[in-house]
């Protein structure tokens, strides 16, 4: 324990320990499975990380102090402890045993911030959907002119440089952005099966970076500083100029405004940390939010699918790769290509009208969605909010146009929650702050009701595709935004298209 603490601007050291009786620590360990707990403990005892996760070991010279009541007698050496955990891996047992052993036995003097970060990362790996990620695009700014000090820099849309990200430099400059009355701990982690680099930022309100920050001599008694801590994850996809940020999470009850301000702090701090002298960047939200990191990697990632969603995905997928040296006439994408099914067709009796229309619906769905929107592709989006700004169809057009839209609108919940309000605000903002089609003559005779449609589910666009295949939604007249080809989860529809995003994805 440090005798005295001096207010400082430094970051929280990884080896700083949090008391193992802290409810937040117990809770986060309790969320993990037994296998994860054991492999985590083994990873802590690794040579490279042991400095940040020193276990409680028996001291040779104080043999008389052995406590007979101790259920978890301390081990003599790290090697011994390591073997003990490897042995536990073979055996069966409850996860509570392991968690208790960690908390009350081998790390009874507390878990370091590094260990807590790793606990959270293991939880994220076990439950990849536990966080909600919002994708931001990193955009270069125009260099400032010489004399103006406080000018607002414009996005340089003609810049040809692609932003580059270097973890340790980024962290250093991010630390410079953090205010002195807030202390943060950073930990990088690379998940096994995704090409992203995760950064966990653990923020605590304290001027100290010693154990004072965590022990919480706050004067108000009971409540420790730990409960006012926040955790935010950033994800840096490999080879893509995007960044994914999660909402901050509190360990204890906290006013909602506070977590938002931290979010803002990070959104403002990250571009500054990414910038370098003579190269400035800004973050721009891309209206895509999902719990599924794989979806984000597909729509805002390093690959080809960023601006080729929906039916356009056939151009991005590897399946249709066709070398020009191969002169075999490719069967058009919608025909049955294998000769096997051709044989079947010859033998089977002619289709009746139901079967024919079902088949037609399938082909239309294939044409509109391409290779996207398949239930099993693991690229689901849970929620899509769309605000319709088009004039209400005139009676003659009603017959032609979308009854499905009204149906879709019906189940949207009536309880106005905080989340709902924020989405409304985003939609309004998107509707207002749009320079395109500004001078469009408003026709007062047209009735423009505000219709907001919310799609919810495990995989929204796969659901719409199934509706098309089942013939419930007319695939040919379905607007393009229902195929997910714009790659957004919040949008305003005008003239039947998502506005401000005429599809370029630029």
């Amino acid at each position: 324990m440090v005798r005295f603490s001096v207010p400082t601007k430094a970051r929280l050291p990884s080896s700083l320990r949090v008391d193992s009786s802290n409810p937040a620590v117990i809770k986060s360990l309790g969320r993990l499975s037994r296998e994860a707990l054991i492999s985590l403990a083994i990873s802590w005892l690794d040579e490279d990380t042991i400095a940040n996760a020193v276990p409680y070991l028996e001291r040779r010279d104080e043999e008389d102090e052995i406590d007979p009541d101790d259920i978890y007698p301390p081990c003599g050496s790290v090697q011994e402890l390591y073997e003990l955990y490897v042995e536990m891996q073979q055996q069966k047992g409850s996860k509570r045993d392991v968690a208790n052993r960690i908390l009350e036995g081998d790390w009874r003097h507390g878990l370091s911030l590094y260990q807590l970060a790793m606990v959270d990362f293991y939880y994220l790996e076990e439950h990849p959907m536990s966080q909600k990620w919002t994708a931001y695009k990193i955009l270069p700014l125009k260099p400032p002119t010489k004399d103006a000090d406080d000018e607002i820099l414009q996005v340089d849309d003609k810049a040809l440089n692609v932003p580059r990200f270097h973890p340790s430099t980024f962290l250093q400059s991010l630390q410079d952005q953090v205010l002195p009355d807030v202390k943060a701990h950073y930990q990088f982690y690379r998940p096994k099966d995704l090409s992203v680099l995760l950064l966990r930022i653990f923020v605590i309100e304290s001027p100290y970076n010693s154990s004072m920050a965590l022990s919480g001599v706050t004067g108000s008694g009971g409540a420790t500083n730990f409960t006012s801590s926040r955790t935010v994850y950033l994800a840096f996809p490999d080879g893509s100029s995007h960044i994914y940020i999660t909402k901050s999470q509190a360990n204890g009850p906290a006013p909602t405004g506070e977590s938002k301000s931290l979010q803002n702090l990070i959104i403002h701090g990250v571009p500054k940390a990414l910038s370098r002298p003579r190269e400035r960047y800004t973050l721009k939200p891309t209206s895509l939010t999902s719990r599924n990191l794989e979806t984000l990697l597909d729509k805002r990632g390093p690959g080809r699918g960023n601006a080729a969603g929906g039916g356009w995905s056939i151009y991005a997928s590897d399946k249709n790769k066709k070398s020009p040296l191969d002169a075999i006439l490719p069967s058009p994408p919608l025909s049955r290509d294998s000769s096997l099914s051709e044989q079947n067709r010859k033998r089977s009796k002619p289709l009746n009208s139901d079967q024919r229309s079902a088949k037609r619906a399938k082909l239309v769905a294939q044409a509109r969605f391409g290779d996207s929107g398949l239930v099993a592709d693991g690229k689901g989006i849970e929620r899509v909010d769309v605000l319709l700004k088009d004039p209400f169809p005139t009676p003659s057009a009603v017959e032609n146009q979308g009854s499905e839209e009204d149906q879709a609108n019906a189940p949207s919940e009536t309880s106005v929650s905080a989340r709902r309000r924020t989405i409304d605000a985003v939609l309004r903002q998107a509707a207002d702050g749009d320079d395109e089609e500004m001078n469009e003559p408003g026709n007062p005779s047209q009735w423009r009701p505000t219709v907001q449609i919310t799609f919810q589910g495990n995989h929204v666009f796969a659901g719409i595709r199934q509706l098309v295949e089942a013939g419930i939604v007319d695939g040919e007249r379905m607007p393009g935004w229902m195929t997910g080809e714009d790659g957004v989860t919040v949008g305003v529809v005008k003239h039947g298209r998502i506005r401000g995003n005429k599809g370029s994805g630029l």
Binding site: D157, A159, V162, F165, G239, A307, A308, P479, G496
Partner: protein, 312 residues
């Protein structure tokens, strides 16, 4: 029956089925190739056309029975359309082989698409190690009702490593709403040709850079394999890992067996701009100097790295 014996009996059968299936797949492929070859031969096409439009000789018409003629006609019609498709496809392939950028027309399936769904597609061919890769596509549409010749990037499959937005802003600028300032300000001209040229250049550069680092990795691959196995005593100069360190593939990260690591930065054209080596105690000036003697292209440095790794 004894399950073990049963298994023994089924196994050769399964194998036979598998091999037959393979044979069938092979034969199907051969048939397809033969078909396309026959269809694309000009003499077959001539024969098809002449059989469809026979010289009206009343004698033969009278002799021929009515019914079967119709179905033969239909089959020939089908063959002819197929042959026409094949011809068009052959032409497309030929263009794709000889020109690295080709254009085609697409129809946007969105019923609300701008400009009636007319979309101009551009196809950028890329080759790696003598093979055609999946091409990159850029789709352009004409969303501006006032200037019906101005294009805009609609969809594309270009990876984020290529600054497509910047190029589009430079060569395909958005026309200004010329409402208040009538014709005093000259409209920015769109230059599709330059856009395509510079985009193709960027794509090629990117692929060449990828190729350089892949070559480097391959030439040093033996060492990294040995390091992964962890059995041999590696010379400390051996490079065990080569990886791309940034989005644009302009930086290559090198890791030596003795935990030194280096960073190589190249410019657009593959010229080495910066090269540095970090040892256990900060910058390793000696190695850096040794390796940057050539001060040339990445390929030269790669060669030097190889020599250095071999211990010279």
């Amino acid at each position: 029956m004894d399950p073990a014996v049963d298994e023994l009996q089924t196994n050769p059968l399964d194998e036979e089925i598998a091999s037959l299936k393979k044979q069938v797949a092979h034969l199907r492929k051969t048939i397809k190739i033969e078909c396309s070859t026959i269809l694309s031969s000009p003499s077959i096409k001539e024969a098809l056309v002449s059989s469809l439009n026979p010289q009206p000789s009343p004698k033969s018409a009278a002799l021929r029975p009515r019914k079967p003629r119709k179905s033969v006609d239909r089959d020939e019609q089908l063959l002819l359309t197929r042959s026409k498709q094949q011809e068009a496809y052959n032409q497309q392939c030929l263009y794709r082989i000889s020109a690295s950028v080709t254009a085609f027309k697409v129809h946007d399936p969105d019923p609300n698409a701008v400009d009636g769904g007319h979309v101009l597609g551009l196809r950028f061919e890329v080759m790696t190690r003598g093979q055609f890769m999946q091409p990159y596509y850029v789709m352009l549409n004409r969303p501006y009702p006032n200037n019906n010749k101005t294009l805009r990037v609609h969809r594309h499959t270009v990876p984020p490593a290529i600054p497509l937005p910047g190029l589009a802003a430079r060569y395909l600028p958005v026309p200004k709403q010329q409402m208040e300032n009538d014709s005093s300000v000259a409209l920015p001209k769109q230059d599709l040709e330059r856009f395509v040229k510079s985009l193709r250049r960027e794509i090629m550069r990117y692929h060449n850079r990828l190729g350089v680092s892949a070559d480097l990795r391959r030439s040093l691959g033996a060492h990294s394999q040995a390091a992964a196995d962890g059995l041999s005593q590696l010379p400390s100069n051996a490079i065990i890992d080569v990886s791309i360190a940034d989005t644009e593939a302009k930086q290559i990260r090198l890791t030596w067996a003795d935990e030194r690591n280096g960073r190589l930065v190249m410019d657009d054209d593959g010229k080495v701009v910066k090269f540095m080596v970090f040892g256990a105690e900060g910058r390793d000036w000696e190695t850096t100097k040794q390796l940057t003697d050539s001060q040339g292209r990445v390929e030269d440095v790669a060669k030097m790295l190889e020599e250095y790794a071999a211990g010279r």
